[in-house]
């Protein structure tokens, strides 16, 4: 006999996990299904990790509403979840007469959007704030509320809090078929069939494919690729604020920013692509990014590159987010959440909960007392585990054995080295694993082997009886079978 959920969220990116958290905390019985081996394996894997005020978002858009609500909730809950905030502020820098002229419109849009603390900076003020900036910078617009956050710990904390409130997360669970039985959704996955009253499609880069399971999609995902170059840590002290370009008609342009891990990065590019996973970088573009960064911040020429990566944003043909409830189909669509998703995720969750209340049933007025699930801090500027001792295994990022072992266990253990990296920073530093990769993976695999982990769906009740053998099959075997 299979268990019945109130809500099934499809997709464990930052948006899906924030939605899962919101419903679980409201006391609903929830499950989230993830196609990848671990959470955050799609669009949420690679972004610029900024907390935006929404100063440059389209006025009156749903995107703006969700960003500002998400921004406020993040600041409200972050200490209880031990999530970091690097208060950098941002500067929209103008490098030509044309760009200087455009600052006024940007400033007035910011005020329209309720971001009232923006301030124009003269060339002198710009130089005082950012002495390392190239002399060709002409003027700027200061946006004090823009900050840097941890792109992976935040969604991990949302997931863990959802789990603490009784939610289930099932990975390696791509939906292969969906149908309705007495009104309830039946979602078939390689891990078994899940039944739920209402489905939330937060499938990101595969949003249109998942939408097609229920009806003709009103949108098409056109992935937009962004490549990034990350400089070594000495670069971080060359810049205080996030440096934003004046956007052109065509693109928002590349941003130069500090990361929460103590580096400095430039990106993203905006390239149309057919890739939906495993975004690729290319040397010519990376070289251009590096050159552009040096042009803006000349002292970067002596700093080596620590990492390169590419992310994919699930853009659609619509300018705004596509968030809709389909009442007859017990279905909520959450699509087209582009680069602002990290900021807006908590706000999107609030909005989706409202849609649910309006169309599918009342949420309890009085929420159960929240259980807080603080996550280990990975931010460079705050207290980290190595400071109390322990054995350092990753020497560039100062990651301890204890952190690696902890990440391989618990209610949502890392399932691959990518997941381990996102939970600990191990091998993310300047040597990119030259010294420690062998040691890190041996340590990780040892804990995994000892804890006898199987698939996430370790509860027989969830599955129809004839499928009960399948979740006992180790992940590796399941993979092998799929590959064949």
């Amino acid at each position: 006999m299979s268990e019945r959920f109130d809500i099934a969220v499809i997709g464990c990116g930052v948006v899906g996990l924030a939605i899962l958290r919101r419903f679980a905390m409201a006391g609903l019985k929830c499950v989230a299904l993830e196609k990848g081996a671990d959470i955050l394996s799609g669009a949420s894997k690679g972004n610029s990790a900024l907390l935006h005020t929404g100063f440059d978002a389209p006025p009156k858009s749903l995107e703006l509403v969700c960003m500002q609500a998400g921004y406020a909730e993040y600041l409200d809950i972050r200490q209880k979840l031990n999530l970091p905030l690097l208060e950098t502020s941002a500067i929209v820098a103008a490098w030509s007469d044309d760009e200087v002229a455009k600052l006024e419109a940007i400033e007035s849009k910011a005020r329209t959007n309720g971001v009232a603390d923006v301030k124009r900076l003269s060339q002198t003020e710009l130089r005082i704030r950012e002495p390392q900036l190239a002399k060709t910078a002409r003027a700027g617009l200061l946006v004090p509320g823009e900050h840097v956050i941890d792109p992976w710990s935040a969604p991990l904390a949302y997931a863990l809090q959802a789990i603490a409130h009784g939610a289930r997360i099932i990975r390696d669970a791509e939906i292969t078929r969906a149908w309705r039985d007495n009104g309830d959704w039946q979602l078939a996955t390689p891990q078994g069939t899940v039944s739920a009253r209402v489905v939330v499609n937060a499938a990101g880069l595969y949003g249109d494919h998942v939408e097609a399971l229920v009806h003709e999609a009103q949108f098409k995902i056109s992935p937009r690729k962004g490549q990034f170059v990350v400089f070594d840590k000495p670069a971080a002290k060359l810049l205080r604020a996030i440096l934003l370009p004046v956007p052109t008609e065509r693109t928002k342009g590349v941003v130069l920013f500090r990361t929460i891990f103590g580096n400095l990065a430039i990106g993203p590019t905006a390239e149309e692509t057919d890739e939906r996973e495993n975004a690729s970088t290319d040397t010519a573009t990376l070289e251009k990014l590096r050159a552009r960064a040096i042009e803006m911040l000349p002292a970067l020429k002596d700093v080596s590159v620590t990492a390169i990566y590419a992310g994919l944003r699930p853009a659609t043909e619509h300018n705004d987010y596509v968030i809709e409830a389909h009442k007859a189909e017990n279905w909520i669509t959450v699509a087209g959440i582009r680069s602002t998703g990290l900021t807006s995720s908590l706000g999107i969750a609030q909005h989706v909960a409202k849609l649910y209340g309006k169309h599918f049933g009342k949420l309890p007025k009085k929420l159960p007392a929240p259980i807080w699930t603080p996550v280990p801090n990975l931010a460079e500027h705050a207290i980290r585990p190595y400071m109390k001792g322990g054995e350092i295994i990753c020497h560039c990022e100062w990651v301890t054995r204890g952190e690696i072992e902890a990440a391989a266990q618990g209610p949502l253990p890392a399932r691959d080295l990518g997941g381990l990296k996102r939970r600990t920073r191990a091998t993310m530093g300047r040597c990119q694993g030259f010294y420690c990769a062998a040691h890190v993976s041996a340590t990780f695999e040892k804990v995994r082997a000892n804890s006898g982990q199987v698939a996430d769906l370790a509860d027989k009740n969830l599955l129809p009886p004839n499928e009960s053998a399948r979740f006992l099959v180790g992940r590796a075997e399941a993979r092998g079978r799929k590959a064949r």
Partner: protein, 305 residues
Amino acid sequence: MEHHDVIIIGGGPSGLATALALSQAGVKDVVVLERETEAGGIPRHCGHKGFAPYKNFGLMTGPNLARFLRDQTKTLDIRTSTTVLEFTLRGNLRVHSAQGIVEMSAGKIVLATGTRESSRAARLIGGNRIKGVMNTGELQQRVYLNGEKPFKRPVIVGSEWVSYSTLLTCRQLQVNPVMMLGEESEHAAPGYFTFGAQLLGTKVVKGAKLAAIRGRHSVEAVEIEQNGKRRTVECDAVVLTGRFRSESALYASGFLEREGHAPKMTEQFETSRPNIFAVGNVLGHLETAGRCMLQGRELARVLCA
């Protein structure tokens, strides 16, 4: 605060040889700080022959040389699993160990942190970010320390000494690399090495560049560029060898003046700061373990003078 006459950062061939020579010269209070769980440095995972103490070449394997060094320095104060996090503004050291973080000071500090190969990122090699791309350092640790066999048909990139050392590691695994991509290098090994590689059955392609790495979950192919043309070569791993860079973590933030990618040095091993010295491969050129030991001995002489 803990104070010593000399603190040596790094327990590889140059650091250990410096410590040994100092103690033989009668300097009592010398401490070596080594972040790995055992001293010996890079030779610990170079399982092939070619090493000798204080000599350029010999018939010892790397692990044997590392063991020799540990034996010789057995009675010295060598602290393993101890990481120097950074220099403080005053030039003291912030030091991490299992017990926590302490500050240490010394009359003289020797930087012997060695060198490492440039990563894929530092080389800006595009393509997919997947498993199966490694430096020689990672490969040798996987093979000689963990006993793994990480691939069946790798492509080796590079034409330096270490590139051929990678080839030897592959031979020990009974793996025949698909090809060696002989990128141009200022530190290229002599031409007859190419001939040797070909005798072993590995195709050496010169004047080509690795343009991209492709695959879904792990490496499936590489794209190489030669005479303006691209072609795809199937393989299951990429070993990026050579292009050694001074391990600069402790001084790159501007603590020491630099020259290129290494600290600025005098003939007497002095850095831009008084009483801070550097020795061995941290100086930015790749030398054999034996030569690093000779340098350590030389530095000890300078320090005692």
